[in-house]
Amino acid sequence: MKALPWALAVLAVAALAVVPFTLSPVLVQFGISTLLLAVLAQGWNIIGGFTGYASFGNSVFYGLGTYGTAVTMTKFHQSFALGLVVGAVVSVGFALLLGLPVLRLRGHYFAITTLALSEAVAAIIANLGITGRNTGLILPLIRGDSMFYEMSLALMVLATLTVWWLARSRFGFGLIAIREREDAAEVMGIPTTRYKVLAFGLAALFSALAGGIHAYWITFIDPASAFDISLNVRMIIMAVFGGAGTVIGPVVGAFLLSGVAEVLASTVTGIASLFFGLVIIAAVVFTPSGVIQAIRRLPRRGLATFLDAVRETRL
């Protein structure tokens, strides 16, 4: 194990950890949102980046985690810790149960099914009494953004360490083989169904925990925000832009893209979203394998890296 990357990582985490005590409250809030998005991106990275099953509905796990935590705390008056556990159990259970039929689909079909599933669950929750229907739920208020910040940071570190372990483990190797060629993986002794479902469950776990933390922080949740479709696109683009299948790619992508969005929102009001759309387009065209890959190639090819990328993917 090389020492330098580890040292840098520890330094980075330490630097992030002291943010609530050194920087402005606005930045702390930005930090919480971005860290949770990074967790979602890492969750997607496990099922989409490593296993090759590009889910477009991981927001369902986030939403189930959100509601699991919220219902436990509001309707049953239990602790936040228990709320997180319930949210995680519901979400992972859903993933394991529905993973079996859904993971039999490939490519576009899998993507659409996960999206539809996510929307269907949202539509159902919007009709149930216990979840407060469309009006939503209000959680008990607790002050202290710093606490939520450190929790989000801890979760992000945990998710990233898990992905790091995946990249080196036998299980992760199996997932990568599934991504590369599933039928060949099967005859090589890899239990593809079991591994895919486990990866899905792992993604669900992290997404659910992020949802739970977010719910308690924001204190108000409703189906529209908990199962927000745009979360899916955001987590995917952060993971892909940063580098799907890498360890820190999704985190880098989350911070870069969130940062750009924030800057645009504060400087060029109103048409910030317009520019964000253009940024997405440019990013995907010029760095199709992600920012990390592009950075690796820069020393060799300089700016021509971006032209190479375009040439490789054009018709």
């Binding site: 989409g48 590009a54 477009f56 039929p101 859904v102 039999r104 689909l105 490519g107 576009h108 079909y109 993507a111 659409i112 099914t113 999206l115 539809a116 599933l117 929307e119 269907a120 539509a123 159902i124 919007a126 009709n127 469309n134 479709i229 696109v233 995917i236 683009i237 892909v240 109103g270 048409i271 979203s273 317009l274 964000f276 759309g277 253009l278 940024v279 997405i280 387009i281 995907v284 065209v285 199709p288 375009v310 490789e312 993917t313 054009r314 018709l315």
Partner: protein, 286 residues
């Protein structure tokens, strides 16, 4: 009697839905591109027809060809100038770029057209006629007929005409397209352009029977998916089946479970079809 009315509503809606989904199904089935901006194209087509109506007094059915031409040019340009550069990239790159296009188009529309509700309401917009105790709005019926007509025309085009056959060949493989004497870049741009034109036509009719806002794009894209999958991507006529299934499901879902469950019904149906028969009702078994 209520059932018959709901049935009639569902069928009329279904026909329009077929056209709504047609462009997406074409581009997806032939080019393997899922255009997340499809709904935005529909929205744009609707607004073009709206301004032609309010500005020049053109009836939407008369402006239909014009709208289709404009949208064709837009779609052709987007494929030629942008999407052709991403064809060989991983699948989700295309999804992300078309999402980016959707974001851009939605906000351009918001800035240019404002968020106010618009509707195309020519003189005949309010007339109904009654058959067997069922009320049938004239505009909806006309839209239904035109929608099915366009769908049928596309199916014929792909079967008979040279360019149509070339497009189908491209769907098989790029080498075959070259054999037909059609360079792939052109075939791709042509197909995407046609998809956009069809979306524009759907938007025109949608503006006539429903309302236009800059935000109708995403839900329409979602419905187009559902329809394309339910009907199957192998046959362009599949969207008719898919559209009817969705239209009827929404109509009866509203009746039996209440309007709030409408989305849950159509989505639940979609998930079921995907799991049980992913190639759709008319698709060939994998």
């Amino acid at each position: 009697m209520v059932t018959l009315q709901v049935l009639s509503n569902g069928i009329l809606l279904g026909g329009l839905y077929a056209l709504v989904a047609l462009g997406l199904a074409l581009v997806w089935g032939v080019l393997d591109i899922i255009n997340l901006a499809h709904g935005a194209f529909i929205m744009l087509g609707g607004y073009i027809a709206y301004y032609l109506f309010t500005g020049l007094g053109l009836d939407p059915f008369a402006s239909l060809p014009l709208v289709m031409i404009v949208m064709f040019v837009l779609g052709y340009g987007i494929q030629w100038g942008l999407l052709n550069f991403l064809v060989k990239a991983p699948m989700f790159n295309m999804l992300l770029v078309t999402f980016g296009i959707d974001v851009v188009l939605t906000y351009l529309a918001q800035i240019l057209f404002s968020a106010d509700l618009r509707a195309i309401r020519p003189a005949y917009a309010g007339s109904n006629f009654t058959v067997l105790g069922i009320t049938i709005p004239l505009a909806n019926l006309l839209a239904f007929v035109v929608a099915l007509l366009l769908t049928g025309l596309l199916a014929l085009f792909l079967q008979r005409q040279r360019w149509g056959r070339a497009i189908r060949a491209t769907a098989q493989n790029l080498g075959a397209a070259r054999l037909h004497g059609v360079p792939p870049r052109f075939a791709y741009a042509l197909t995407f352009g046609i998809g956009a034109a069809l979306a524009g036509a759907a938007g025109t009719l949608y503006g006539l029977v429903a309302q236009l806002t800059p935000y109708i794009g995403v839900p329409l894209t979602a419905k187009s998916f559902a329809i394309a999958i339910i009907g199957g991507l192998d046959n362009p006529l599949g969207v008719i089946v898919g559209g009817l299934v969705l239209g009827l499901a929404e109509a009866f879902g509203s009746l039996w479970l209440g309007p709030t469950y409408r989305d849950a019904v159509s989505l639940g149906l979609l998930v079921l079809v995907l799991i049980v028969r992913p190639t759709g009702i008319l698709g060939k078994t994998a």
